[in-house]
Symmetry: C2
DNA sequence: TATCCCATTTTGGTATCCCAAACAAGGCAA
DNA sequence: TTGCCTTGTTTGGGATACCAAAATGGGATA
C-alpha cells in the first residue's frame, strides 16, 4: 500500500479518535516528522482528507475540522429521508443472510464491551442498513454523514438507559426489515434518528463548557 | 488562485464537456505539458478529482471515469427522497426573492439559447432548488448527483417535445413551491425525476452503439 | 510466422530543493 | 509606553531529481 494511503488512514484515525483535537493546526513539516515520510505523500493525504472534510484550510494553513454542533440538525434532516428510503428498500432487497450478519454484529456488542466497540457498532449499524438498500449512493451518503457525526457521538455523555434505548431501536428497525414491514421500519428509523439527534444535542450543549475546557474547537449552535 | 485549483477546474471542465473521453487514460506527464505546470499541482488536482469520481485509478494509471449507464437508476433512486425533501423544506424556508432568482434563471433560457446553456440550466435548476432547502448536506448530495449525471445528460438525444416537457415540469415544481404546496411540489418533483430517468435510459440505450463508435467507454446496463 | 525474452522507455511514487508570502520578534521612534 | 517598521524565520506552493515497477518493443528462436 502506498505511503499516501497509510498516512491518510492513520491521520484519519487520529482525527476521528480525537487524538488530534478539533481545530488543531497541522503543519506539513510536523506531519513529516510524525510519519517519517516526505511532504509529497503527506500533502496528498491532506488533500484527500480535505475532501472528506476531516481537515480544512484556515487561510493557508491546515487545521483539523472543528466540530460544528450547528450542523447536527441539518445532518439529521439529511439522514431522515435517506435512511427511511434505505430501510424500505432493504425490505425488498435484503437476503436473510444479510440481516443475520447485522444481527450478529449487534449481538457481538455485549454489556462488557469497551466503549470504542459500542461507538463503532453504533455507527456501522446505520451504514450496514444502508448497504442493504443495494444503492451505492445511499451507502456513501450515510457513511459520510456518520463519519461527520462520529466525533460528536464520541463526546456524548452516555447514560445507561439512553444506550439501552438506542440499541432497542436498532433491533426493532432490523426486526421490521426481517418481517418485511417497510412502513413500520421507516417509522422506527425516523423516530430513532430524531431521538438520537435530540439526545446528542442535549448532551453536548449541556457539556459545552467542558468541551471547550478540553481545548476542542466547537462551533455553532447559537 | 493556486495553480492546483486552476488545473482542477480546467480538467474538470474538459471531462464534463467530454473533451476528454470517458475511459481515456491520463498520464501525469501529458497533463504536465498540457497545462504547463509541474506534476505537483497536477497530482493534487487529480487526487481532488478522484474524490469527485470524475477521475479514477485503473491499476496504477489515471483514467477519466467511464460513463456507467447502470448507475442511472440508482442515481434516480437516490435523488428521489432527497429532492422531494428539498422541495418540501423549500416551501417553508424559501424567500420570494430566492424563488424569483430561479424563475429568472429559467426565463433566461429561451428557445434560441445554445445547447450548453440548456444543459447547464437543466442541471443547476435542481441544485438551486436544493439550496432553497437551506440544508447544505442536501445541496452537496444533489450537486454531486447532478455532476455524475451531467455527461450522460449531455449525450442524450433531445427531442423538442421532451425538452419542453422537462421545462414545464421545472416550472410546475417551482410554482408549487411558490404557492406553498409542499405535497404537490414533492409529487411533481418525484414524477419529474422518474420521467427524466426513463427518457434518459431510453435515449442512451438506443444510442449505445453510437456512443461506443465515438470511442467512449460506456459500461453497465446489462 | 508465432512466441518468448531481454533491453529500453515510460510511468507513478517519493524525496528534496527553491521560492514568495505570511508571520513573529525585536528594536526604534514618537 | 505605544505603535510602527524592519528583519529573520516558518510555511505552504511549486519544480525538479531519483527510483522501482510496469509497460513496450524488437530481435532471436523454434
Amino acid at each position: 500500500m502506498s505511503q499516501m494511503l497509510q498516512i491518510h488512514d492513520q491521520l484519519r484515525e487520529m482525527i476521528l479518535s480525537l487524538d488530534l483535537g478539533p481545530g488543531e493546526r497541522l503543519t506539513e513539516r510536523w506531519l513529516e516528522s510524525r510519519f517519517e515520510g516526505s511532504r509529497t505523500p503527506i500533502r496528498a493525504a491532506l488533500v484527500r482528507l480535505e475532501s472528506e472534510e476531516l481537515v480544512r484550510r484556515d487561510g493557508r494553513n491546515w487545521i483539523v475540522a472543528p466540530i460544528d454542533l450547528g450542523e447536527l440538525e441539518a445532518l439529521a434532516e439529511f439522514r431522515l429521508p435517506l435512511e427511511t428510503t434505505a430501510v424500505r428498500l432493504a425490505c425488498t432487497r435484503a437476503s436473510a443472510a444479510d440481516i443475520a450478519g447485522i444481527e450478529a454484529m449487534l449481538d457481538a456488542c455485549q454489556a462488557g464491551a469497551p466503549r470504542e466497540e459500542w461507538h463503532r457498532v453504533g455507527t456501522d449499524f446505520h451504514v450496514e442498513i444502508a448497504r442493504l438498500s443495494g444503492n451505492p449512493f445511499i451507502v456513501k451518503a450515510i457513511s459520510g454523514a456518520m463519519t461527520r457525526l462520529s466525533r460528536a457521538r464520541w463526546l456524548e455523555v452516555w447514560t445507561e438507559p439512553s444506550r439501552e434505548q438506542a440499541w432497542a431501536e436498532h433491533r426493532r428497525i432490523l426486526s421490521f426489515i426481517k418481517t418485511n414491514d417497510p412502513e413500520a421500519a421507516a417509522r422506527e428509523a425516523a423516530d430513532h434518528i430524531s431521538g438520537t439527534r435530540d439526545r446528542l444535542l442535549r448532551s453536548l450543549s449541556e457539556d459545552r463548557r467542558g468541551l471547550k475546557a478540553r481545548g476542542f474547537a466547537v462551533v455553532g449552535l447559537r
